[in-house]
């Protein structure tokens, strides 16, 4: 298994050591590990030669750069007005029932985390959600169950 030092080094190699490389490096770490561990942030600080507090302060400004451990698949259900008026609530309860987790929680097998998010730009096809980077739109309880079934299958 590659260590966190090596993993960060590889990303710093790709994006560089200047300050403007910080976000791309952090984004790549989240894409790989689903969250930013303390260890990862300290390592980034060391390799970019900035303070760990600065890395933490920057990362936590951004809602997608979470320092909290997340599941392999992060589900973000849009809660902004169009989705909210077009049945987001039912979709959310269906996800909670299917995955047996509540909003804000991660499943015991660390496969799914369930979050709400602000407008993701699919208002004309509301309600919508993201699973990691992929958008799903015009959701209904039936459709969301089918989507989740596929993800549950692909362990």
């Amino acid at each position: 298994m590659i260590t966190i030092t090596e993993s960060v080094r590889e990303k710093v190699g790709k994006h560089g050591k200047t300050r403007d490389a910080l976000l791309p490096v952090l984004q790549d770490i989240v894409a790989e590990q689903n969250y930013l561990s303390d260890l990862a942030m300290v390592e980034v600080a060391k390799q970019l030669n900035i303070s760990a507090a600065d890395v933490f302060g920057t990362a936590t400004f951004y809602s997608f750069l979470t320092p909290r451990p997340m599941g392999k698949y992060v589900i973000r259900v849009c809660k902004t007005i169009s989705c909210s008026m077009k049945g987001k609530h039912e979709v959310l309860s269906t996800i909670e029932e299917t995955l047996k987790i509540k909003l804000g929680e991660t499943s015991a097998d660390r496969k799914f985390s369930l979050l709400e998010t602000n407008c993701i730009g699919w208002c004309h096809k509301a309600p919508a959600m993201l699973i990691n980077d992929e958008p799903f739109t015009e959701l209904t309880p039936k459709k969301v169950t089918e989507v989740l079934r596929e993800y549950i299958k692909n362990r």
């Binding site: 976000l23 951004y62 809602s63 169009s82 602000n118 208002c123 004309h124 509301a126 980077d133 958008p135």
Partner: protein, 386 residues
């Protein structure tokens, strides 16, 4: 006042040969390119509506060997989704607009700041950027575009916050002045334009400034891509000539029971039915980045306002007190009035608070919370109280 009924336009999504258009602009002097954009009357399509040609002119006049073109693709305004479609359908036109701007102001590097929620577009954009860079090489124009992603912060759509974010910092807006054309990204002269604006500059080069200027009204030239959602049987993306009234818009897009239209998203204005006729969609009436949300009589405007305030409370960067505390207090305030813990007169106090935020907040986010707040409270007071 000249009223224009709802008229479809096809400029943004029209398939064109970018190479041909760009070669044509290479023959022009930078001043000539800028002059044509000024003549067209094009104003920024992100919502703020600053004249694009002037912005280019200011950036061009700065003496610096390092300048930047930034494409603002951090489309986060609730109800706006047209930039995603433009980047998905005609990305090469966006790149071409950036190349034209680079020629106009003398920049060698451009950035596209794409919101993290649109990360699924990245493989496609990278492939097209590859082709674009080959094109730039073949025509001998020294310009490259870098792609940067956001990470779920609405405030990064504010131009100076966006620069901070590209620079690897917290996306906190800067004080202005200096404006971006003087000191923007990496403190260098920077021209930042919305996705749609950049595509219009391409079409202005293709068809000429007059063609664009002939569309729309004196204050709102040209056409605009609208993101239509809410209670409508025709939700989607439409490019329409500017200058129509809200009534004309509702006649086409409404469901027959439209009570109000929120123009410009959470940061925009609520237009009630009684003002549909007199309100023009454009810079002379209600400006918009394209977000058009229709609400019918089954919707509670309390819920709508609550949703918006919840949004702003979360997305306020927290840097300045008027916005950070103001958003929280507006949200708590309408909850207290709804529960009867505060009298309905308290709403007047909240409207005053919103007005204070408009004056005292550091950036456009805090300054525009009052738009939706005051226009909803004033027009739907009963729904907020009872």
């Amino acid at each position: 006042m000249r009223n224009i009924p709802v008229k479809r336009v096809d400029l943004i999504f029209e398939k064109v040969t970018c190479k041909e258009i760009f070669l044509k602009t290479l023959e022009l002097k930078p001043e000539e390119i800028i002059q044509s954009v000024i003549e067209s009357g094009l104003k920024g399509r992100g919502g703020a509506g600053f004249p694009t040609g002037l912005k280019w002119q200011f950036a061009a006049r700065e003496k610096s060997n390092e300048k930047y073109i930034v494409c603002n693709a951090d489309e986060g305004e609730p109800g706006t989704f047209k930039d995603r479609e433009i980047l998905d359908e005609v990305p090469e036109k966006v790149f071409c607009g950036m190349a034209i701007a680079s020629r106009a102001i003398g920049a060698k590097v451009g950035y596209i700041y794409l919101r993290g929620e649109y990360k699924f577009l990245v493989p496609k954009l990278e492939a097209r950027l590859n082709e674009f860079h080959k094109l730039m090489k073949s025509v001998g124009h020294d310009f490259k575009i870098l792609l940067r992603l956001g990470s779920g912060a609405y405030i990064c759509g504010e131009e100076s916050a966006l620069f901070e974010s590209i620079e690897g910092k917290r996306g906190e807006p800067r004080n202005k002045p200096p404006y971006p054309t003087k000191a923007g990204l990496f403190n260098k002269p920077t021209c930042i334009n919305n996705v749609e604006t950049l595509v219009y500059t391409v079409m202005i080069q293709k068809y000429g400034a007059a063609h664009f200027k002939d569309l729309g009204t004196k204050d709102s030239r040209g056409s605009k891509v609208f993101s239509v959602s809410g209670d409508t049987p025709k939700a989607g993306i439409y490019e329409l000539e500017l200058g129509m009234s809200v009534q004309e818009f509702v006649d086409v897009f409404g469901d027959g029971d439209t009570k109000t239209v929120q123009v410009g998203g959470a940061a925009g204005f609520c237009v009630p039915r009684k003002r549909f006729d007199e309100t023009i969609i454009g810079f002379e009436g209600v400006p918009t980045g394209g977000s058009m949300k229709l609400f019918n009589s089954s919707r509670s405007m309390y819920n709508v306002l609550h949703n918006y305030l919840d949004f702003f409370t979360e997305e306020s960067c927290g840097q300045c007190t008027p916005c950070r505390v103001g958003c929280q207090q507006l949200l708590k305030g309408i909850e207290a009035v709804k529960k009867g813990e505060k009298s309905s007169k308290y709403l007047d106090e909240l409207v005053k608070l919103a007005a204070t935020m408009k004056l005292a907040a550091k950036c456009g986010l805090g300054q525009s919370v009052g738009n939706a707040f005051s226009s909803i409270v004033e027009n739907f007071k009963e729904e907020i109280i009872y």
